[in-house]
Symmetry: C2
Subunit: 422 residues, 2 copies
């Protein structure tokens, strides 16, 4: 994994932290990882800040879940209030789920008018896959070469970024990530067409093209707007549907629209969302065109015990309240543009490219070693980012959307200092 | 689905409720179902009571998620307090997850010493399946004929209770549910041995025997204690591991031990749990033997964004606090025994068998029609239960564990009146 603590490396840890890591290793399964060469111990969060046990403040330039900032009082109050009032499930009549679904649907194109709730982005993508297969009668799925869509059995086998230890399914084909040169849309569509041709040759009927609309684990590709359209048309011509994975790109992060696909002028068949929906409360959803959801709905009941429960819906509505009231989409656009310009203006020889949209920024460095040194150096300056991409050389900059110009300055100062160290 | 509202049936609904159902149908996917011929509209919950918009009180004899009673103040305070303090994820150091994991592990046999957190029982079973396949190198799974284990793609295809619209996987074999006659253990093990023989004949290498230890969707089978042991031994002899699905049976509901498998004198290889863990907060887990988790942990990182986050762990610890402080396991045993005796003493000709353990009770009636009439009749008396089993003829009685003798009396009175009506 990119940016993982190597167990046994005690550099910089207090005795108390080493003891905590030892207890962790005893009782948590061996799949668990910690971030950074020197893990970060946090006990409190507020806005864009995380705090360690001694009160030390870390600037959070990484966490996309806490979209409204850590522990936003409006979200906390909504969760606390509803938890004290009622928390059942979707098989009793209750207004909350309907109110929330209507608000979500209002954020989507008119064609996408129905929602199903789950608890995690993995569950949302897994459900979307089941719906796609029911609707198309196919099984084949096209994803990008370093895609990540989740951790269920069915979704892990179409998430190549999980590595060679997790084999891809026999019905899965990959397309190269967009290349930030030449005709981006044509190049990406060519990869998708090759994957479709390979499916046809091997007797796999296509079900879906599944794309994270900001290509996060592929290294962050957002420009030019509209480049996704040709690939989506190719997939649809072959009988596949288009699933926009908005778990990372959605909820205003890209700064111009609520969802990433909207920057590409597309109307997906299904849209999945998760991480920021409840600002930390486990909440996810699949939205779709009724005619695409119909066959699955007829053949299968789908009951997710906690999905869409009253507290989840209250959390989800509070997050929408804050995004609207605090104009977080406008903030993402403004602060993100300024940050990308400031990063480029650093003029570092280590920077190959500065990409992204809004407050999802990818800074491609010359190599993984440089990225690791910058990520870990900034962590020592108490500024938290990470790295991504197939070569682990792209800085992943993705703060809560309440990130202001004053926070951007702190980030730029720390980045500048670490780039100067390389 | 058993006990579902038929859309269009307006019997007993207010105009406001009919309008709410119409809005629901517009914005929620068509897989959603409501309970009862006359759906129940709830706006508030407290202890074993749910309340409608006019203040009408429903006795909840069905919801196993609200194990500590609806909106238990200690659980609500834990969620509210932690949500206001910090809610990140497992890749930062934080004591809460370690404290919670240690408390969970202390409830388990010594051999099972590691935990991995997820958000739903479906995710827990899906992860257990991935671990089982990594550990054994096999793919085959044996489940019971009417099993339900969850809704991910991989778990739905081994959940025959979802019906013919959701085909079983080619690597899945079913064993008949236990029969409450003769040598129960021998009979059940014979079915598992047949399934294993069929796997061998068809070249499917066994990975796991996956069993809900109270056989909820099969119709509720808990006796005699120990009957599961022979089947588990047969599965292990064929190279499969034993996964105890404790999503329904666990957390003290069966009244003698914390987990259902403990009544059978077994130590599973993996244990999955969910529903009651957070009393409504989305929280689930897989616990396992380190040697079983090891290979998966080496090959695959597993990161569940919300799984084991600080608020989930705070909710989970608060639920354990209440179960211990209020002696809910002892209550389940005492009240459950009394209820089963009182049901049997009704002497109704419609009752074929009264089964279960603790506060998980199955009342087998002569046929599905009788069960539907009792379930819906009791609903009109504002006493909430449901039905289960392959023939939909088993009343499912499964209240919050704070259910007292005074509540049992109300339940018995309503059941008695409805049985007399048949």
């Amino acid at each position: 994994m990119i940016n993982a603590y190597a167990p046994g490396d005690d550099g910089g840890l207090s005795e108390q932290e080493r003891a905590l890591i030892a207890r962790r290793a005893r009782v948590l399964g061996p799949s668990y990882r910690l971030f950074y060469e020197h893990p970060v111990h946090v006990v409190r969060g507020e806005g864009v800040w995380l705090y360690g046990p001694g009160g030390e403040a870390y600037l959070d330039v990484y966490n996309n879940v806490a979209v409204t900032g850590h522990c936003h009082p409006h979200v906390v109050a909504a969760i606390a209030g509803q938890a004290a009032l009622l928390n059942t499930h979707t098989r009793y009549l209750n207004e909350i789920i309907v109110n929330f679904a209507e608000r979500l649907v209002a954020k989507l194109p008119d064609e996408i008018s129905q929602v199903m709730f789950a608890c995690t982005g993995s569950e949302a993508n897994d459900l979307a896959l089941r719906v796609a297969r029911a609707h198309t009668g196919g099984t084949g799925v096209i994803v990008t070469e370093t895609a990540y869509h989740g951790v269920t059995q069915a979704i892990a086998e179409l998430s190549p970024s999980l590595g060679a230890g997790v084999p891809l399914g026999a019905h899965v084909r990959t397309a190269p990530a967009p290349r930030a040169v030449g005709d981006v849309g044509r190049g990406f569509a060519d990869g998708v067409r090759s994957a479709l041709a390979d499916m046809q040759r091997t007797g796999v009927k296509p079900a879906a093209l599944l794309v994270d609309t900001v290509f996060s684990s592929d290294g962050v590709f957002a420009e030019p707007k509209g480049f996704l359209a040709e690939a989506v048309a190719a997939a649809r011509a072959a009988g596949a549907i288009f699933i926009a994975d908005e778990v990372q790109a959605g909820y205003g992060r890209l700064g111009e629209a609520f969802f990433g696909f909207q920057r590409h002028g597309l109307v997906p068949d299904l849209v999945t969302m998760g991480k920021p929906m409840g600002a930390g409360h486990p909440l996810a959803a699949v939205a779709g065109r009724p005619e695409v959801l119909e066959k699955f709905g007829r053949a299968s009941r789908y009951f997710n015990t906690f999905g869409g429960n009253p507290v989840s819906c209250a959390a989800g509505m509070a997050v929408l309240d804050v995004i609207e009231a605090e104009n977080l989409i406008g903030n993402a656009l403004r602060v993100g543009q300024s940050m990308r310009a400031a990063i480029a203006a650093l003029g570092s020889a280590a920077i190959v490219d500065v990409r992204g949209a809004g407050l999802f920024i990818g800074v491609e460095l010359t190599d993984a070693d440089a990225a690791a040194r910058v990520v870990n150096g900034m962590r020592e300056r108490r500024v938290l980012i990470s790295a991504t991409g197939p070569r682990a050389n792209v800085l992943k900059v993705r703060p809560p959307l309440v990130f202001g110009m004053e926070h951007a300055e702190i980030f730029i100062d720390a980045l500048s200092a670490e780039l100067a160290h390389l």
